[in-house]
Point group: D2
Chain length 335, copies 4
């Protein structure tokens, strides 16, 4: 059994803690949160030990790997500590809102002695993964266009949005990674259009967008479209469409159950989409832990690397520059 | 152009008249109805001639073929006149409510000099036809089970129901034919269960059923289930499912348009099924006229024969005997 | 935490043991199997204790409730031991192949001091459950027809089939329970038709059927159709359709992922159905443990009772009598 | 009956001629084509008269309205002749490849004495129309994002592509009109990205694109994405998705039949999309003739105006400027 610890017991940290505790290959050794009651609650539920500091976890020889789900501004510090301690890490996205810090961290990691896996969980989703497989096995043929739809069920609280870095760095970053995962080729140009339609006053206050549409192109001319909204009343809308010379592979939405109702004047009425990431990507989060266990146990290279995290953030920077500058941005402009 | 005439200008006769008038291979030469205003209306719309009697149509050398959509009790008389006149006929179902008359008529037709095609229009439906093709080309493998669902949008008027011969002879007869079309093997045993749930008082008065479930088996053990209801509030529910050793082919419902709505608490809400047979089987009715034109022009054997009509009626008799006698009925009991 | 034990560590017992070990409300206290290595494997995986006898479990005050997944012929003995020990039990179906033993056991349980819950897991399926809710909340209106489709991916091994009691007692029994769950009214008459199409030689040898179609009716005239096959090449086909005066609620099949492929000559090609009960009813098995924990902790009445198990078996007996006697069987004939 | 004539008997002119001849409200008075055999073939099929010149049709008092489906470069000349003759016209898109000529023609028509209806047939599609209705009736709420997918089954012949004006003016123009139809607000900015992926050599030769992705925004911040490809091996992919504050309305693809196949390793395999515009928009083309008959008979204002045609062409010009200039283009730059 791989012994893992979780740093940061917010919503996603709690979920990781539970998944790890229940997972057949892992045990939850310890949890830490700067706000101790958050750690206490999940410790009580899972039987994990609580530590007073993150360092106690990094220095504990009984911990084989660490999941970093603290607040974004502490990720790089945690990674540095983990590298010093030689502990494999699974770090939530984004790495840091400041690309310079990310680049410096990349430099630190360049020796490759301590593996850092990035938490782009959607890569582990069976449906999105099947799109990638359909491309890999030739069912789609030569890839031409990718369309990624990603709409959250609702706005996060203002307090969170304030420190999130904005929609591109916080929300679209998953779609930037999905684009790279599906395209299997680096992005060359980004054009982003941002609007304030869901909560215009709040967005004005935050100088942020709640509705974005993006076109990205690769050097070979492949096109990728991303559509985001911060509020979707029919649930968490998560779709990927890959179109190519031999056909199209689409990852469709999933529902909590498969009951369908027909009545006077309608047919086919189904449940809304699964509510949010914890429900929608439940299988994926477990598969992510599985993949991280492979990294920890066997030293397997992380299937989602720090560099994947850095590239997604470069795309977020490019999108922000594009949306605010109203022009397409070349990726070589971003460093 | 094949010149056709329509005898009987009720709802289905009017539809045939319009289809024939618009069809690229046929012209509508004449129409007749015992109730002259019914004929006049469709004649005015299509430019067809009206005759005072059916005989004028049968004796008219300018008429190449005749569609019989008069009331059921006159079908056999019309067929006899058509045979005497040597005119190919397309006769609506059922042939006659009295199986003895049907058998006598079969005897008359046994020389095969004058082709009579039966109006089992569903055989020409592209979706049901694709189920049969999937069986023929091996996609289903060896056929094991067939499930036919057929629910009318609503009860016909009481005046019609009174003379319809009951649900088995009037409504299920199409499903009996579909069963034979899909099974491609004769039925050996019929067990039918009839209930009065949609309009119990009316059904009591008519000594009829409005809700039936039927199991039929062939000598080789294939099973066919039919489910009927006289009222389906989400439209005309018309499905066929064929299950076998290699897979399943299903003919699903069709909708008037493909708009799908998702909103607060639901997703996938679509239009109800197409309203009734004129809408649902529109393509099939045109294909039926096409097939009848082949019979008339080229002397092609009718793709749906008088014998098909007779067999479906034998099944209706068996079902009635089963539902009222509460026992499975062997087809050899019916003659 | 509710401390449960599992008696019988075959395929379904192992699954229960894992589910209990991982469940947030339960711990797996002990496991037992007459074939000790089977118990050892699951004990090693879950950390549960192994006992040499079932009695050790029944007499252990640290065990709050017992899951009985031993071979069918031992169920009644286990229940008797559990009653003597006062331990709440969750017993797999069928209770016993001999209805007389079932009736005797029912008599023993009639005082109701020790709760016995029956393992009809499909009642806990979110999609089937949503059909029942749609009826309960009036979306379906007055219920008229129920269609249950249940096709296994493949034949069980001959060794198992030999002792299974035949298709009605082993496989259809789940559908009989589903019929009662959805109809919410007792069955009055059963007509079953059995064929040997999947593996005719084996079925001849076993004097069993591999393909069955059943019509059941209630006193009020509701109709329920069940279709079963022992082999479905596109996966485990599990559907429920409830049709009534206000509409239709259907529980559709579930797939392992939602990727859909379109290519030259086709569209919409999706994954096959989830493989078998462990995959398809995964959520339901966990919800079943949840419900059993309620029974154990709070003394809640079992949501699926021993009487539900007995009634499903009476229906299996009626179906067997009908299929072999080629006649509808009244439930009052079965005692 | 409204008497219509068809100028230009190419593929779409032939289709209009047939639809008019079969339509219950219209008769086909005359047809003309510069290549007389093209006119002869359709005249023979429909019984319409052939004229030697277009003028004969414009000057014929027996012709109530004219469908212009000649080559694009003659549209303006035909419209001028029609205005002089006072004949209502239904003109195929695009009006002219030269926006200056279009603007001059708009000036001529500004008195509004002679109605000109534009052939944006997709506005009459029941599914796309239902999306617009869902917006109009509030089901979508405040509109935020529109996604239009439009992929042709295959490249037109090179000879046609050479004179087509390029993908934006020839193909995307329908989607530009659909965007305006669904958004119900004028476009402010266009960003287009064009690639050569389907037939790179041919596109190089023609200096055209075969794969385009477009983002358009309105002044209020609504976003519209268009995705086009010249080749889709699974048929003519025609979808519209409208997302807003209350939900999403989607117009899904239509198939020639509703048979669905499940087999070893797959489920849900359906027919490909309907082949191309004649099949896909069959109902819409008939509804378009219906709407034109209203214009001709009752002087109803054309539901798709010349100005709609001009605006779509301005969008095409903007898209071309954007794709070749690699920058977003403001609509006020285009005149």
């Amino acid at each position: 059994m791989t012994r893992l610890a979780v740093l940061g017991c917010g919503r996603i940290g709690q979920m990781h803690a539970r998944n790890i505790a229940r997972h057949s290959r892992t045990t939850l050794g310890a949890v830490f949160d700067v706000h101790r009651p958050a750690a206490e609650a999940i410790a009580a539920e899972t039987g994990a030990r609580i530590t007073d500091t993150a360092d106690e976890i990094f220095s504990n020889p009984d911990i084989d790997g660490v999941v970093i789900s603290t607040s974004t501004d502490t990720h790089v510090t945690m990674i540095e500590a983990g590298v010093a301690a030689g502990k494999p890490m699974l770090c939530e996205k984004p790495i840091d809102l400041d690309l310079d810090r990310v680049n410096a961290c990349a430099h630190l990691l360049s020796k490759g002695e301590v593996p850092v896996m990035l938490g782009f969980v959607r890569r582990f989703d069976p449906s999105h993964g099947a799109v990638r497989s359909a491309i890999a096995n030739g069912d789609v043929g030569e890839l031409h266009q990718v369309v990624i739809t990603s709409r959250d069920p609702d706005l996060a609280p203002e307090a969170y949005l304030k420190v999130s870095g904005g929609i591109f760095r916080d929300m679209t970053i998953h779609d930037f990674d999905m684009a790279r995962f599906i395209l299997n080729e680096e992005i060359d140009t980004v054009f982003a259009s941002g609007s304030r339609l869901v909560a215009p006053d709040l967005m004005d206050r935050l100088d942020d967008f709640d509705t974005v549409s993006i076109i990205m192109t690769t050097a070979s001319g492949k096109q990728c479209v991303i559509g985001n909204s911060r509020r979707s009343v029919y649930g968490y809308d998560q779709r990927v469409e890959a179109f190519g010379s031999n056909g199209m592979a689409s990852s469709e939405n999933r529902k909590p159950h498969a009951m369908v109702l027909s009545g006077g004047g309608f047919s086919g009425k189904a449940a809304p989409c699964l509510d949010f990431f914890i429900e929608r990507y439940n299988d994926a989060f477990n598969a992510e832990i599985d993949a991280f266990a492979d990294v920890v146990e066997h030293g397997a290279p992380p299937p989602v690397s720090f560099e994947d995290g850095r590239q997604a953030q470069r795309l977020a920077e490019a999108a922000l520059k594009s949306a605010t500058g109203h022009r397409p941005v070349k990726m070589k402009e971003i460093d």
